[in-house]
């Protein structure tokens, strides 16, 4: 790459290069004495970690049986625990006969997101709009009940489902709030700008636990007596406000990447502020920040584990509760590994997607 061929004749391979697997080994693993040393060290590290891990997780592991006695003699992992509690890890305490509702919501959500984000499917506006406006209503009715469906109280929600509900709601709510905050922050009106700056910086300066604690147990102290919301609702409000401060910064990054000329051109054409922003700047900026939005969704998805601290049982909370059950004592490692695996798969898939998107969206707008 760096050696630009400037000679006129045919480009010959450099002398002294051995091709084939041996050559690859020499070039990539043993090019210098130092590199050889590193390679040997790494191989040793792999040797002492990987085989025992595989032994524990696969070869010596137990999957059969329905309770702890099945794993009594085995030295490996007791996946029976995960197998038996799988339903709870995914759906929490959601009634078994109503779980299809959760499945429908998941399926519709995934379809809409795929349609809105994958390049080949047309009608982005429709699928995206449906995801932001119609889907929440559908999810609310299906998950919570009403319209003929039996009501399922939010205290029964849990597991991966709760994790996804919290992360998705917070992202969807924080998007418009984040746009407003970002626009306010780049405004020239001092009071508007000041308010936005103070909100964003204060929220970004404190840990999420404190915000969650305020939202979950202290909120009624600030409200008139008698005003009350559902516990999950309050956690959602807290997390959404928290997320919108971060979202505002992501969007501000996009706004700043739009060349000033665009705004000037729009103004020259006689468009007012709302139209300049709504028709010219925001569409371009939002497209640019989609990877950023996906990234903040990933970190929200991971931060959702904190709701366990305020007594909502997300995937991690469910794993912990299940492993303190006398029936399954001592199974916490398997539970944690399972949770780590689920989180890892979700986050890895999403981050790969956002990286691919980033490369595709590179339209030369970005200022260096």
């Amino acid at each position: 790459m760096d050696a630009q061929g400037t000679s006129q004749g045919p480009i010959l391979p450099p002398a002294g290069v051995v091709h084939g697997p041996l050559g690859w080994l020499r070039a990539n693993l043993f090019s210098t004495p130092f590199n050889s040393l590193l390679t040997v060290l790494c191989l040793y590290l792999l040797w002492i970690t990987v085989p025992p891990l595989i032994n524990w997780a696969i070869i010596d592991a137990t999957v059969s049986g329905t309770d702890r006695t099945a794993c009594a003699g085995a030295s490996g992992a007791c996946w029976t625990f995960v197998k038996m509690r799988f339903g709870q890890f995914i759906y929490g305490l959601y009634p078994i006969e109503e779980r299809w509702r959760v499945n429908v919501v998941f399926a519709v959500g995934i379809l809409l997101v795929l349609a809105a984000l994958s390049p080949r499917v047309p009608g982005k506006l429709w699928s995206g709009g449906a995801f932001v406006f119609v889907f929440p209503v559908l999810a609310y009715v299906l998950l919570g009940g009403g319209l003929g469906l039996p009501v399922v109280e939010t205290r029964l929600w849990g597991g991966l489902m709760l994790t996804l509900v919290v992360a998705t709601t917070a992202t969807v709510v924080s998007l418009p709030l984040g746009i407003i905050l970002a626009l306010a922050r780049s405004s020239r009106m001092p009071i508007v700008k000041g308010t936005a700056v103070v909100f964003i910086e204060v929220v970004r300066g404190v840990p999420m636990i404190t915000v969650l604690f305020m939202a979950s147990v202290m909120l009624p102290l600030f409200l008139p007596p008698g005003m009350n919301f559902d516990k999950l609702m309050r956690a959602l409000i807290g997390i959404s406000l928290f997320a919108s401060a971060y979202m505002a910064e992501v969007i501000r990054g996009g706004l700043q990447a739009i060349p000033r000329g665009q705004i000037e051109a729009a103004q020259a054409l006689g468009l007012n502020y709302t139209r300049t922003m709504g028709l010219i700047v925001l569409p371009q900026a939002l497209k640019l920040v989609i990877p950023g939005i996906v990234n903040s969704f990933i970190s929200l998805f991971k931060d959702t584990t904190l709701v366990a601290i305020i007594g909502l049982f997300d995937l991690l909370g469910m794993v912990q509760t299940a492993s303190t059950n006398p029936e399954w004592l001592g199974s916490s490692v398997e539970g944690y590994v399972f949770a780590a695996f689920v989180f890892g798969c979700f986050c890895l898939a999403m981050s790969r997607y956002s990286q691919a998107l980033e490369r595709r969206l590179e339209t030369g707008h970005r200022r260096r």
Binding site: D2, N28, L29, S31, N35, L38, T39, C42, L43, L45, L46, R188, M189, P190, I191, V192, T195, E201, V202, R204, G205, V206, P207, M208, I209, T210, F213, M214, V217, M218, L221, F222, L223, P224, P225, I298, K302, D303, T304, T305, L306, A308, I309, L316, Q320, S332, V333, Y336, A339, A340, F343, G344, F346, C347, L348, S351
Partner: protein, 396 residues
């Protein structure tokens, strides 16, 4: 009203409601009213609620006796100390875990970031695996993992792993000998001070000489030698005026020496390994952002690869690295609050936990807690901005 204005004015003027200046004023006034109104409404509700229920308020509780013990305190603290002291202990513990986390995460992150760019295929793959594995698993899960997995693997106190009979590792933590100063130790400290001043002077002199003559002087190595050698020499001359207090098994646990409790170790490990995965990516993209021509040019000028990295690549990469690095540092501070889950006595656990529960003054306690996090955050970002400003490209 607008119609009247139009009728009375002679020239066709912009109507009042479309005048940008007036409109901006109106919007701001409205926002101010809404924000102040909402704030007043919340405050008023809170005041009424507190009065109605007879909840104590004010900050007087900070002087009251705390009455509980804290397992790890770097400043003198006992059950008879005040809540204010407990706050101090908690704050110091938070700062300790944060600063150690920042230091370790930066070092590990830098190495992993460079390793990802290594020409050694295996090293690069392993570094990439490290980054993906740690970045994609929630920190809380990692903290639990380190705490409970590591805890389970350690032996009980009576079967401690020991090194030279002076270092002990067991379920209760890592016990190391504590230095106890004897008379004459002041001289050693003095020697250390002198060495420090000399090293600083040497650094300045070496830089000036390089600027003036272009000759390099190995100031770093000489300074290091000074800093270690001089105090050691003085100590040897005065007959090593200090003793080591060795930890010893007494009753249930080891007594004496210094102890690193497992909660602290698990927290520092989890928080720095997690942040290091992010920092590695920042470092990698920073280095990639430096034009390859820069490396080639400096090699062509005869600089060694190490010098090239230190003097040419890193200073330029830093400009790209520092802003995202700042937000990682802030994340480390904020994530330190998760230590509450594993009983490491930091701010959220001790102050927003035990103290809040005992005094019942949720509003005051939460206000103090948030204010502290906010001000430490601001201090970190102010420092990093200053540092970034020093490094920024001075455009002409």
């Amino acid at each position: 009203m607008a119609v009247e204005a139009k009728a009375t004015s002679s020239a066709p003027r912009t109507p009042v409601w479309r005048d940008p200046a007036i409109r901006s004023l109106a919007i701001q006034a409205l926002l101010l009213v809404v924000v102040l109104g909402a704030g007043w409404w919340l405050l008023d509700n809170t005041r009424q609620n507190l009065n109605r229920q007879g909840i104590a308020s004010g900050f007087g509780f900070l002087d009251h006796t705390a009455g509980f013990a804290i397992v790890m305190h770097l400043i003198p603290y006992s059950e008879a100390s005040s809540y204010g002291m407990a706050l101090g202990v908690a704050l110091i513990n938070t700062l300790l875990v944060t600063s150690l986390g920042i230091f370790l995460a930066t070092v590990i992150g830098f190495f992993v970031g460079v390793a990802r760019l290594s020409s050694n295929w295996l090293v690069a793959r392993l570094a990439a695996f490290y980054v993906e594995a740690l970045r994609n698993v929630p920190l809380l899960l990692q903290i639990f993992f380190w705490y409970f997995a590591v805890l389970r693997a350690l032996p009980p106190p009576r079967e401690s792993v020991t090194l030279f009979g002076a270092f002990f590792l067991n379920l209760r933590g890592l016990y190391v000998p504590a230095p106890v100063a004897a008379s004459g130790f002041g001289l050693v400290l003095l020697a250390g001070g002198v060495a420090l001043v000399a090293a600083l002077g040497l650094g300045l002199w070496a830089r000036r000489r390089r600027v003036a003559t272009g000759q390099d002087f190995p100031a770093a190595a000489v300074s290091l030698g000074l800093l270690i050698g001089l105090p050691l020499l003085v100590a040897a001359a005065t007959g090593f005026p200090m003793s080591w207090e060795l930890p010893a098994l007494k009753g249930f646990n080891f007594q004496g020496g210094l102890v690193l409790i497992p909660e602290f170790v698990a927290m520092v490990l989890a928080i720095s390994l997690y942040a290091a995965a992010y920092i590695a990516e920042i470092v990698r993209s920073g280095i990639l952002a430096v034009n390859r021509g820069q490396t080639e040019a400096s090699l062509a000028l005869g600089l060694s690869p190490a010098q090239t990295l230190r003097l040419v690549v890193v200073p330029q990469a830093l400009r790209v690295i520092v802003p995202p690095l700042t937000s990682q540092y802030l994340n480390i501070l904020k994530n330190s609050s998760l230590a509450a889950a594993i009983a490491y006595p930091e701010l959220v656990s001790v102050f927003a936990g035990t103290v809040l529960n005992q005094t019942g003054q949720a509003i005051e306690v939460m206000a103090i807690t948030m204010a502290i996090y906010l001000s430490v955050s601001l201090a970190i970002s102010a420092f990093m901005n200053w540092y970034n400003g020093r490094n920024a490209l001075r455009e002409r």
